[in-house]
Symmetry: C2
Subunit: 392 residues, 2 copies
């Protein structure tokens, strides 16, 4: 894809013998949109990106793994400043066109000289086909790199979207130690890009949960290089954006699913469809209450069709639900209807479904027409292994 | 203690070879107060108790373990009706003086004939000193029975409070599969009793969390038999109630701590003190965000003083906090101050503290004077073992 080049290098911030730094170079005139963590203890890079985003232009994204540069006070802010200046000098662009993302341990100062020291090598390595290397460099506890690509057309002209993501724990809406960078060669102004990004993020990264924890560092950036010439886009409701909007939704959902499938210790991928809620927002909250429940997640890990725990989770969501009209399906089999177990319920086919890797739960709460889908994974011994011993 | 007798029996609802039914008989004229789950899918016994509570009088509480009689539709309501009628007949009291609590599997019909069939034996066994047997009969995944007792005086006359509780998982504020029954021989009208119970429940059972899940069945009942004669209590603000109020707080906190210490798979008891919040409510929410965080809880299980995860949890609580004034102490040792690690931070004493069984975390969020204390436990392999294989 024209207009973007990437490079990855090992600069030894925390990990040995693997790449941990990534530079993304964007063509002059690239527009940028972003969605960030809602954490009130956001990291220094997130604070910088929020500020830089008001300019709407990007020439570079610099990313490191191993250290989140979060809760590092003035030292963290200074560190971001030095990294941004070094990148701006190297690529001859303005500071506010440089975006920064860091992921890893919280509370330790970022050894930024290791990162800036690698800039020369990173620039020399820049190549249009380095997406897989970039996806690998931003990993922390991820077990595989995550990438997705889609084609769309705007006014009959083909455009491409490429995206990468990382994230395996501290994954919950708004958003997680989730970093994702998506670039398209379409020409779309920053304001329109932002309007397209927000709902697509809600239906993807903001609809997944691994462990209900929200990171200080979540960053989703969408860049449009404009390298491909097509008819001018007039605004977010331009009908010519229909295919692009769908492709953007696909890329983000694909990446979000990859994050959940790689959830720390995850053995199963769980789709939770909620219907009959008072609103879409209520449906999503109910879905997340189910997807975040340790008791539901351990039951799934144990391949136990314990639908009583789903009832419990619906009850604790704090959203309107009619206990006597509640219905539950697992793997397409009706388990409960109108607030009680279906007559002659046969657990055998449901138990068989629970033994698979892809689990499907559908819940109708019987009060309205709000719908939402949420994705999560099971809670296993693997999660405890990884997180009871992360730093050592 | 005069005015109350208890009995426990095995009626075989789910468990073999152990008692699973408990009858508490209360003297005529006993006043009752209660606090229940806020779940919107509350169980049939909870719905009954809420209704019966409007009468303010109690003669009996009948409890079973092994089946929660939740999400059982009309069958569950009818089942409660039959149990209540049978107890009322047996003890020659009104139906609305009979309270019911059930804990165990959700979604299966309660075999109430097994419970009513045991009533004759239970009545024959009633004895004033059967508190330990009662505490044992209401256990589910609990590993030990939970009881507490305190003395107080009202107008110079000694009174007693005895309480029992169960609950080890699905424990979160408002409240958990937490059942607790407290009886005093003081003479306190139902309305005053309720006014005393609510704040005491908030500062105890509503300030603990094991796994953030909220049960359909949480029930806390406080009964005053009036068997001891003392000066008349005029209302909740009667100065003669000061010692009683303190004793009630002690009993509930003691029982709540026992529940947390017996949290499923728990190896450590964690006290989280939050100060500097915008309000007491905000402080409690921040404390619960820390106490519910799987990443904080697994770090504690791993004896890892990973205070970055505490920062993360403060950030996700959604309450006002000043990132640059945030301070954290672990085991009385300052770890972070004013938004960054303390100069020359020595992890050794903190790491030693993390190896103990009682972990103390203090967080000041730097915006106000709101304070709260929350208690939780660590998240271990034991939790997964218990919950991935509960029904089989």
């Amino acid at each position: 894809m024209a207009g973007v080049r990437l490079a990855a290098r090992a600069c030894g911030i925390k990990y040995k013998d693997r790449s941990d730094a990534c530079l993304i170079e964007l063509a002059p005139g690239t527009a940028i949109a972003g969605v960030f963590t809602r954490s009130l203890t956001a990291s220094a890079p997130v604070l910088w990106c929020r500020k830089a985003l008001t300019g709407g232009r990007a020439r570079a994204i610099i990313i490191n793994a191993g250290n989140a540069n979060a809760f590092t006070g003035a030292a963290g802010t200074n560190s971001v400043g030095r990294v941004v200046s070094a990148v701006a000098r190297k690529l001859k662009c303005k500071s506010r066109e440089v975006f920064v993302a860091s992921t890893g341990v919280i509370g330790e100062e970022l050894p930024d000289r290791q990162l800036t020291g690698a800039l020369g090598g990173l620039r020399a390595d820049l190549a249009a086909d380095s997406w897989p290397a970039a996806a690998a460099a931003i990993m922390t506890t991820d077990t595989y790199p995550k990438g997705a690509t889609r084609q769309a057309e705007i006014g009959g002209v083909p455009v491409t979207l490429n995206g990468i993501a990382k994230g395996a724990g501290m994954i919950a809406p708004d958003m997680a130690t989730m970093l994702s960078f998506v670039v398209t060669d379409a020409k779309i102004p920053a304001k329109t890009l932002q309007a397209l990004l927000k709902p697509a993020a809600d239906a993807s990264f903001n609809s997944i949960t691994v462990d209900s924890d929200t990171s200080t560092s979540d960053t989703l950036l969408l860049c449009a290089t404009g390298a491909t010439k097509h008819r001018r886009v007039t605004g977010p409701s331009d009908p010519h954006l229909r295919a692009f909007r769908a492709a953007l939704g696909d890329v983000l959902r694909d990446l979000a699913h990859q994050v959940v499938r790689d959830g720390e210790g995850a053995q199963k991928f769980v789709t939770i469809e909620v219907s009959g809620a008072a609103s879409r927002r209520a449906a999503r909250r109910i879905g997340l209450a189910i997807g975040n429940s340790p008791l539901v997640k351990t039951a799934i890990a144990g391949q136990d069709p314990n639908w009583g725990r789903i009832v419990m989770a619906v009850g604790k969501a704090g959203e309107r639900a009619d206990r006597d009209r509640l219905s539950i399906e697992i793997g397409g089999v009706a388990v409960a209807r109108d607030g009680q177990v279906v007559p002659g319920y046969d657990e055998a086919p449901v138990a068989r479904h629970m033994q698979g890797r892809d689990i499907h739960i559908a819940v109708d709460v019987g009060v309205g027409r709000g719908k939402a889908t949420v994705w999560t994974c099971d809670l296993t011994h693997g999660y405890i292994d990884i997180n009871a011993d992360y730093r050592s």
